[in-house]
């Protein structure tokens, strides 16, 4: 099953590559990976989405935890959480009909049109990965997709609980 792991680690050169290296050397796949600093600039936070049963995820979390740079790792999947991914998509919008339908679909999904070219629209949607997939399906139905870029998932627990240093 799909898992979302959140990792707090030292914001130091090489720390990210240790994490990524660990995944590849132990043959765990990474579906998406996002990384950035936190409010504490000495710490980075990584969100990794991966696949695995409980046993695999237990090994992944233990192995990641064992890395000296890592402060904490949690599996967000089982607890109540919010996840978001950013999509930027350039779609064909060369005539009135597709312009209207792309605008309509973007509105329905709560996306934004960020830019227009003579023959294209660039749209943005920040949402769950599922919803982004549906949005892309709809866009594909209404128009031709020229270019897609996705940020990978970020996740955070719901309520007052926090992953902090």
């Amino acid at each position: 099953m799909r898992r979302i792991l959140s990792i707090l680690l030292e914001n130091e050169p090489g720390a990210l590559s240790r994490i990524v290296g660990l995944f590849s050397q132990r043959a765990y796949n990474i579906d998406s990976l996002t990384v950035g600093t936190t409010d504490d600039t000495t710490l980075s936070r990584i969100t990794i989405t991966t696949q695995g049963d409980d046993r695999v995820v237990e090994q992944i979390t233990k192995q990641v935890n064992k890395l000296v740079d890592v402060l904490k790792i949690i599996d967000l999947t089982d607890s109540s959480h919010i996840e978001r991914e950013l999509l930027l998509a350039k779609v064909f919008a060369g005539n009135e009909q597709t312009r209207a339908s792309v605008t309509r679909v973007t509105d329905v999904f709560g996306g934004t049109i960020l830019d227009m070219g003579k023959r294209s629209y660039t749209v943005q949607l920040a949402s769950s990965s599922d919803k982004i997939a549906s949005f892309l399906d709809m866009l594909r139905h209404e128009s031709d997709i020229i270019e897609v870029v996705r940020s990978g998932t970020v996740g955070i627990g719901r309520g007052d609980k926090a992953l902090k240093g």
């Binding site: 590559s17 050397q25 000296v68």
Partner: protein, 573 residues
């Protein structure tokens, strides 16, 4: 005004304060300033090797025999990459080691400069941690962290990369060593969870067929005495892994031998039939378990380890206990003494009767012939002539298994071998590291004609530093273990497993200034060993021509249960 030091002096001063007595290394352009600083002091002795791989194995042998952290110094680029096999060897066996690697000056890093490699990148999968030290002022702190990480928790190798510019003798700094190391991301567990300890004790005392299975962790954590006390309290049968030999004396009545691929029948049978297995500092390696799906189906597994990743990695533990063995063993001992539960002595007696019956099959018996030297005999005689007191390092192959099977190790740290990585070429330099630590002890390298040639250049280092190890080479003119597998699994097709053009090892040893002794016939063996061990001021190379057709038995049958074993050619247990 505080005294000022350059970067190289900071390294040396920090290493001295960190209690380093020996560095094993090889100079080169990027570390010449550091070598100049070493020249100017007497606290640390530098041992000049002939190949950096050997430096890592020497530091490793030094660490395994003393418990201290082994230290390696190599130059950037090829010096550093030559260390990789030794780092991986130490990583697999959790050996404390710090590898100081030179690096090209900071302004050239990333330019493919002369003798540049990204050694931190190259070694990343095989280190516990690594540091790019980019600021001379930070050298003492980085080294203190490196030594702390290498030796605490589950030990392991740490690489520290030192760019040439921070070692520059022109730039001076104050020396600031932190009073204590505080790393927010690193806090190895010590105490076992009290509820888990209780569960473990209930399982252990409730057992009818208990087996203690102990590994290299016992050696690394210096808990051999505690282990022995626990085993005696419980009167339990105990088996050691290859890495755990000497964790309890090899002649202890409760010791049922090594387990695993070439373990004893009684050890593997006991494991297979156990109802409770107490695993201590062992990691259920595939060379132990054989087919994990058939592994010890009736056993409740209590697994104690300082490293949580080892627990339930290959075999699901029913009662996991994370903690240092020193603490957990005393927790177990005191909880057992306080428990209201009592060992079922009647059940235990019948369990021991069963084990005795397995023992009586004498799985290590072998056919002795009069005209050819059996490798097993050599090890048995080695045990006699050294009275079981030698430090024995081995290379990797048949000779390694014979040494493990036929030399009962009395004490921890006496058996020095590359278990996890299985590194040929390890034996001689590792023995040299032991000899550096214990110049008066008998230090023996049990090797073969294949393995010894992987780092034979170190005979030169032995001469330079008077490292009078005994090399016992079980020369079978072939890569024995490869050949054995080819006999058993490849229809006897010996693809590239024989050694053509072997050197005259006696002449070779003599050309390096040592003593060489050739033994061709069983009748000569006793005298040769006596003579070798009577020579204490020279290295002795014993080139012993053994039976090339001998196989190591017992041997687990591939993909079977732990106790599915071949006892001899074509004979199953």
């Amino acid at each position: 005004m505080n005294e000022q030091f350059n970067g190289s002096e900071l390294v040396v001063k920090a290493l001295t304060e960190l209690d380093v007595d020996y560095i094993f290394g090889y100079p080169g352009g990027s570390v010449l300033d550091l070598y100049d600083a070493l020249f100017a002091q007497d606290d640390i002795e530098h041992i000049l090797v002939r190949h950096e791989q050997a430096a890592t194995h020497m530091a490793d042998g030094y660490a395994r025999s003393t418990g201290k952290t082994g230290v390696v110094l190599a130059t950037s680029g090829p010096g550093a990459t030559n260390c990789v096999t030794g780092i991986a060897t130490a990583y697999m066996d959790s050996i404390p080691m710090v590898v100081l690697s030179g690096q090209v000056p900071s302004n050239l890093i990333g330019d493919d400069a002369f003798q540049e490699t990204d050694i931190v990148g190259c070694s990343r999968p095989i280190v516990k941690h690594s540091f790019n030290c980019r600021d001379a002022q930070q050298i003492p702190t980085v080294l203190a962290k490196a030594f702390y990480l290498a030796s605490s928790g589950r030990p392991g190798p740490v690489v520290v990369e030192l760019p040439k510019d921070i070692l520059n003798p022109q730039l001076k700094y104050t020396y600031e060593m932190p009073a204590r190391i505080d790393m927010r991301t690193y806090s190895p567990s010590s105490k076992g969870h009290s509820r888990q300890i209780k569960k473990a004790v209930d399982a252990i005392l409730g057992a009818k067929r208990l087996v203690v299975y102990s590994g290299g962790g016992i050696i690394l954590s210096n808990t051999s005495e505690q282990l022995t006390e626990l085993v005696e309290t419980l009167n339990a049968p105990i088996t050691n892994t290859l890495m755990g030999l000497g964790g309890i004396s090899g002649t202890h009545p409760n010791f049922v031998g090594m387990l695993g691929m070439h373990g004893s029948l009684e050890a593997n049978k006991a494991m297979a039939n156990a109802d409770v297995i107490l695993a201590l500092g062992a990691r259920f390696d595939d060379r132990v378990t054989n087919n994990v799906k058939k592994f010890c189906p009736d056993a409740t597994i209590v697994h104690v380890d300082v490293d949580p990743t080892s627990i339930s990695k290959t075999i699901q533990a029913h009662i996991p206990v994370v903690g240092s063995l020193e603490t957990v063993l005393s927790q177990l001992q005191s909880a057992i003494e306080k428990s209201a539960l009592r060992i079922d002595r009647a059940a235990q007696e019948s369990w021991w009767q069963q084990i005795t019956a397995w023992r009586e099959q004498r799985c290590l018996a072998y056919d002795v012939q009069s005209n050819v030297i059996k490798p097993q005999t050599v090890i048995e005689k080695l045990y006699k002539v050294t009275q079981g007191n030698a430090y024995v390092s081995s290379d990797v192959g048949q000779h390694q298994m014979f040494a493990a099977q036929y030399y009962p190790f009395k004490n921890p740290r006496q058996w020095i071998n590359s278990g996890g990585l299985g590194t040929m070429g390890f034996g001689l330099p590792a023995a040299m590291g032991v000899k550096v630590a214990y110049p008066d002890a008998d230090v023996v390298c049990v090797t073969g004609d294949g393995s010894i040639q992987m780092n034979i250049q170190e005979l030169s280092t032995c001469l330079q530093y008077g490292l009078n190890v005994k090399i016992v080479s079980l020369n079978n003119r072939s890569l024995g273990m490869v050949r054995q597998w080819q006999d058993m699994m490849y229809g006897g097709r010996h693809s590239s497993s024989y050694m053509e053009s072997l050197p005259d090892f006696v002449a070779l040893a003599e050309s390096y200034g040592h003593v060489g002794i050739r033994v061709d016939h069983p009748d000569e063996l006793d005298d040769a060993l006596d003579r070798a061990f009577s020579i204490t001021d020279r290295l002795v190379f014993l080139d012993i021509r053994v039976d090339e057709n001998e196989h190591v038995y017992p041997m687990q049958i591939k993909l079977g249960a732990i106790d599915d074993m071949w006892l001899k050619k074509g004979v199953k247990a």
